[in-house]
């Protein structure tokens, strides 16, 4: 019985240590004002995107809606960012645009992150075997061209809409994760703890996911935050060029290209979506920088 109590206290100790480590990480993160600013902006944006129906001043203006009496109105207290070419409130559309932006970031990253990580782990762990060559040469093919061009082509070959834009970005994005996870895995695969696990007779899969992965998770998550900004930029660029979301979808990039037609006469129309994109990217970058300090500074 003594052993079990000892074991229990050991368990408690480890739990306390984990809590302590988290506290320290949070302390390091919270010391940076910029990172905290980024996190709070991001939270505000996420909340307003989730509750867009209640927060947007004119929720019905997001999609199909026209009121030609009030088109091209400059910003005023009634329409904070003005109205567009069919009389819709631009601020409401930007808020609904955030919903699409977060949806896109969420879906793309939740597919790319696991896929890229698993492939990278496999390639890094089985370095020198055929599996490494297959995965890495495939990844090389996708990075031998700027992501935007291939994403645009895939959107065009499929059908230009927002779902296919997500598919295209997903297809473009996994190699960058795979390459990063690969090099990190390859760097730690000869560390003593990996050898120890192997000596204990653990299976390869266990070593990969329970021993190696937790040790390289920090940088992966940091990259995910910074990459969320890139996914947003890429989606905005695809939509801006007309191969992503189609009007009247309230997508930020689509809005810029829609309103550009009336540029420069009704120049205030493009301010809303552009500032919308910029604020979200800034929040993500600030947060990513803060996370990097926490994980990489360790």
């Amino acid at each position: 019985m003594v052993e079990s109590r000892e074991l229990l206290s050991l368990f408690e100790k480890e739990k306390a240590m984990k809590r302590e480590r988290f506290k320290r990480a949070w302390y390091r993160f919270s010391r940076s004002k910029l990172a905290l600013t980024g996190l709070s902006i991001l939270l505000i944006l996420i909340i307003s995107a989730v509750f867009a129906e209640y927060i947007a001043p004119y929720p019905q203006h997001a999609g199909m809606y026209a009121n030609f009496k009030e088109r091209f109105l400059p910003p005023s207290s009634r329409y904070l960012l003005g109205t567009d070419h069919v009389g819709r409130d631009i601020l409401s559309r930007v808020i609904f645009g955030y919903r699409l932006a977060f949806l896109m970031i969420g879906i793309v990253l939740s597919i790319v992150l696991p896929t890229g990580t698993v492939l990278g782990l496999l390639a890094g762990y089985y370095k020198g075997r055929w599996i490494e060559h297959v995965i890495m040469r495939l990844a090389d093919m996708f990075v031998s061209i700027p992501p935007l061009i291939l994403a645009l082509s895939i959107c065009a070959i499929l059908e230009p809409n927002i779902v296919n834009a997500m598919i295209a970005i997903t297809l473009m994005w996994w190699p960058w994760y795979t390459r990063m996870v690969y090099s990190m895995t390859a760097a730690v695969r000869d560390e003593p703890y990996v050898w120890a696990a192997r000596a204990l007779g653990m299976r390869d899969l266990h070593i990969m996911f329970r021993e190696i992965l937790p040790n390289i998770l920090g940088p992966i998550l940091t990259k995910a935050t910074l990459d969320a900004a890139w996914v947003l930029l890429m989606g905005a660029a695809i939509s801006f060029l007309g191969l992503g979301a189609q009007p009247p979808t309230p997508d930020l990039g689509t809005m810029v290209s829609e309103y550009m037609v009336y540029f420069p006469r009704y120049w205030w129309m493009i301010i809303g979506p552009i500032v919308g994109i910029a604020v979200l990217i800034m929040a993500l970058n600030l947060l990513g920088d803060g996370l990097r300090e926490v994980f990489v500074g360790e």
Partner: protein
């Protein structure tokens, strides 16, 4: 005679060195990767539902003509046969007939690519010059006003996508202030016979200084829009590398030996600092071939995007594959050039050490 032979031997030795070099290996690797990419995109383009011939000729074209068109483009054969034809044509320098313009894709690309290349070159010049100026200025006085301004600018610069920069600059400098033209490559009325397709170079070849100035005038805003975001970040990287290197012992040694500050700073501290800046810069410059798509649309620039976007909207498969390949080629070549430059700057790479 003897000297000629010596020259020959040294040339052969040089070639051997090149073949062994990493740059050559990378060139081969990226060629292979591009080849694989062509296979992927080609397959993707052919297995998609929809009839490209019908799409190109429109719904009203008689079935007979559509059928003949299919045969002409081998669209009626299995996919591996199509790929065989495509590769065979590729080695003859042909990329197939565009379904959108009914011309050889290579002809179309040769017409539109130079404008994009010119834009890329000018952007690269602005980017490099701006990085050097702002990086060294703020690196020499950390904490100064310039340094603070650069810091803020770097944060703002990364948040604003290239197309937004394009619109903002266009609004301020051409529509409001009227300092720069808003669209096109040349003012109406000025004509330059096409030699290379690079407008500035053509103007110089023709000795038309007026047109040269006009072309540069038109290039300025789109290049700046493309350069700004990347430039701000690169200047930050250069700045922090400079600050780090200035504090090193060897710089102190130079100073104590009485070398002028300027020499130490711009020669001995700048060069190692560039080593960390150039790879980032290179990636950004190579990615211009894609980012140019956004800015060219705004400035109505007759570049690769004009053909590319048209091909994409018309589902012109040959055109899309051609644009992907050419963009990949430009991307890879730019990356290799940057590698060579890095080798020249960094003696550690040149001599294969550390």
């Amino acid at each position: 005679m003897w000297e000629a032979a010596e020259v020959g031997v040294s040339v052969i030795r040089h070639i051997k060195k090149i073949v062994k070099s990493t740059v050559f290996k990378r060139a081969i690797a990226s060629l292979l990767a591009l080849f694989g990419l062509s296979l992927i995109i080609f397959t993707l383009a052919r297995i998609m539902p929809g009839d490209p011939a019908r799409m190109a000729l429109g719904p009203r074209a008689p079935e007979e003509i559509v059928q003949r068109y299919r045969e002409l483009l081998h669209l009626d054969k299995p996919i591996y046969v199509q790929y065989y034809y495509w590769i065979r044509d590729l080695f003859q320098g042909k990329l197939g007939i565009s379904l959108a313009s009914f011309r050889e894709v290579t002809v179309d690309i040769a017409e539109f690519l130079p404008a994009t290349l010119e834009l890329m070159i000018f952007t690269a010049i602005i980017q490099v010059a701006g990085t050097l100026i702002f990086g060294t200025l703020s690196g020499s006085r950390p904490g100064s006003i310039i340094d603070g301004a650069l810091r803020v600018f770097a944060y703002v610069g990364i948040c604003i996508p290239a197309f937004a920069w394009g619109l903002i600059l266009q609004f301020i400098f051409s529509y409001t202030l009227g300092w720069f033209p808003a669209t096109e490559r040349l003012s109406p009325g000025i004509r330059v016979p096409r030699v290379t397709g690079l407008m500035t170079l053509d103007a110089l070849i023709n000795g038309n200084l007026n047109a040269f100035v006009d072309a540069v005038w038109h290039l300025f805003l789109p290049s700046l829009a493309l350069a700004l975001g990347a430039m701000a970040q690169e200047a930050r990287i250069l700045r922090s590398a400079m600050v780090e290197n200035i504090g090193k012992d060897y710089v102190l040694t130079f100073m104590s030996h009485g070398l002028p500050y300027r020499t130490v700073y711009f020669k001995y501290a700048l060069k190692p600092s560039l080593v960390s800046t150039i790879p980032v810069m290179g990636l950004d410059i190579a990615a211009l071939i894609a980012n140019a798509f956004m800015v060219e649309t705004i400035y109505n620039w007759p570049g690769l995007s004009k053909f590319g976007i048209m091909a994409m909207f018309r589902k012109d498969l040959n055109g899309i594959v051609g644009v992907v390949l050419v963009a990949g080629l430009v991307y890879s070549i730019t990356n290799i050039i940057v590698d060579v430059i890095l080798t020249l700057v960094d003696p550690r790479i040149r001599h294969g050490g550390g």
